[in-house]
Symmetry: C2
Subunit: 342 residues, 2 copies
């Protein structure tokens, strides 16, 4: 009722229940040997005072805080969020709380956050970012385990959980091949971006295995719809012809879709389209809805959290762990069955 009451301590509870603090502690934690009647009395007292154990004081004794830190190396963005949420979910199930730290791409901030987290005696740290590229580890010789999620550490002794973008790109190409497309172009993000390079080279490689090659060189640009629209002009000017475009992101794919429609090319009949990210905002609003590669980001976060928990319990799994992507097929690669057509 009354606001801003003081937190009750276990001493208050003990006094109210008429026992010693030690006994109260045992009663609340199910330890020691006590009469059931006593346990009930203590629990009732605790309830009455709305006693919540002071986690800080407890961890002083146990050495564990049941707390982990999550640091984003760069700004928290569209990719780190699902990872964070997946991790939060997996950790919450293990009764662990999460400290959120935004690195903002600033090494000073990053180091400050690491120090703070250590000071708070987190049991472990998850590092994430919005690019998959390997980055220098946040620190050497930390007294707690660290797992990198989505982003990866350049130190192979560190544990990193990353999407298998290579496999994802291959799946996209395989799908296009399976629906009979052979002249596949590729439009993607900036070349300095790791994801863009990996996806482009894997796509080319997979085509090579089928005795084909990309229809024209990969077009590197930006991760935006505007670039997707521009790229269509370049593809047409290139003159190599294409019956499918594998795009490095859903935004690009949507730009491509819009530009194609504007010039009267039908998707998917004339040109099939595959995006990357499976971002519902784009895949759903695009005309037609986009087939896309899903990196399963919250699964990634969940896995990272599980590996962190394992590491906290002593089982460290060093290395770069790639998690599979999955292809979600929608109308941009399949002509819908119109009822009555059969």
């Amino acid at each position: 009722m009354g606001k801003l009451e003081r937190h009750a301590t276990i001493a208050d509870v003990a006094a109210l229940a008429g026992v010693s603090v030690g006994t109260a502690s045992k009663a609340l934690n199910g330890r020691g040997s006590l009469r059931e009647e006593t346990r009930v009395r203590v629990r009732e007292a605790a309830r009455q005072l709305s006693f919540e154990v002071n986690a800080g004081a407890r961890s002083l004794h146990s050495g564990r805080t049941y707390t982990v830190g999550m640091i984003t190396m760069d700004t928290i963005g569209r990719f780190s969020i699902p990872v964070l949420m997946g991790a939060e979910d997996a950790l919450g199930a293990g009764q662990m709380s999460v400290f959120l730290c935004d690195g903002r791409d600033d090494p000073i901030r990053e180091q400050y956050h690491v120090k703070t987290l250590l000071s708070r005696r987190v049991d472990g740290i998850i590092v994430t970012g919005r690019r998959t590229e390997a980055r220098a580890p946040i620190a050497a010789g930390l007294p707690v385990p660290v797992v990198y999620a989505y982003i990866s550490s350049s130190d192979p002794q560190d544990c990193s959980v990353v999407p298998d973008e290579e496999g994802g790109a291959r799946k996209a190409v395989e799908h296009l091949l399976a629906i009979g497309r052979t002249r596949i172009a590729h439009v993607t993000g900036p070349e300095h971006h790791h994801s863009a390079r990996v996806r482009a080279s894997s796509a080319a490689e997979r085509l090579g295995e089928a005795g084909l090659e990309l229809s024209g060189p990969p077009l590197f640009g930006a991760w935006s719809e505007v670039w997707g629209r521009q790229a269509v002009g370049m593809l047409l000017a290139g003159g190599t012809g294409f019956d499918a475009v594998f795009c490095g992101s859903d935004q690009i794919a949507r730009g491509v879709a819009d530009a194609l429609r504007a010039i009267g090319r039908r998707v998917p009949e004339d040109v099939a389209l595959v995006g990357f990210d499976n971002w519902d905002v784009m895949t759903g609003a695009s005309q037609p809805p986009l087939t896309s590669v899903d990196m399963n980001l919250d699964g990634l976060g969940r896995t990272a959290a599980e590996m962190l928990l394992a590491a906290i319990n002593g089982t460290h799994s060093p290395g770069r762990h790639a998690r599979p992507c999955r292809l979600v097929v929608r109308e941009s690669t399949t002509v819908p069955l119109v009822p009555g057509t059969l």
Copy 2:
């Protein structure tokens, strides 16, 4: 160097520096009266052992944890993120760390999180959500201050920081009036959604003040592009005519833009368009780029954090605090000046 070393304690530092723990504490915190030479010696010892004070132990004595909890009532989404980030930023500047909790719209989870946070002795709690509607407070009589951000509490004694959506809608209408539009339609989200109702009624009200009314009844639907596209058909069928559409979200606005272009109506020449949210992904990719109302979400988060800090220091400001929105003008309401046109 070596991984997984134990955390150094202040006793270790004191031993290495050849002083008592009390003295070491004073040296590191700039308390008491010590010779400069001693301070230096202790600091050096701390550095050598990479000592980080155990925040839990410290707060045991001070009663403060310099920690706050952030709970989302519903899932963490596009609206809560900027709020969270703004708050994280403002709190980080005050050396406070943030516990992130995802409520997932589940009251049980919510209560669990509240309990956990209290157990961790956070100094305060920020509650947020993805809807602005007033919600029942997370709990009564909590021993720590609570501030609601974006979402608001139905208890007027609680402190809520919300966007002035009403004002935002009025600004949108004023802008359309200022560029000479008089037949303004409104397409927005589901009617059961608080934001949709408020924005619609404020727009109508502002038009009323100018002696006008909405061109046709507000069209309630979904917060999606698909709905925006459908709504254009309804507007045309309505037959009331319109030279501007104020949309309840950028996604809707973009859908409207696409549908208008598809039938050969020019934006902004024939129809001016204003969105809501100022979501760069939509405003930038739309053709033409969208004029939109910005709710300044991270400013909201920052303000909420500041009010929480104030409350922690004893200055409680109950009530619903509305923060202004701002209109960002782009090409969907202004014909760009073509060079050489003058």
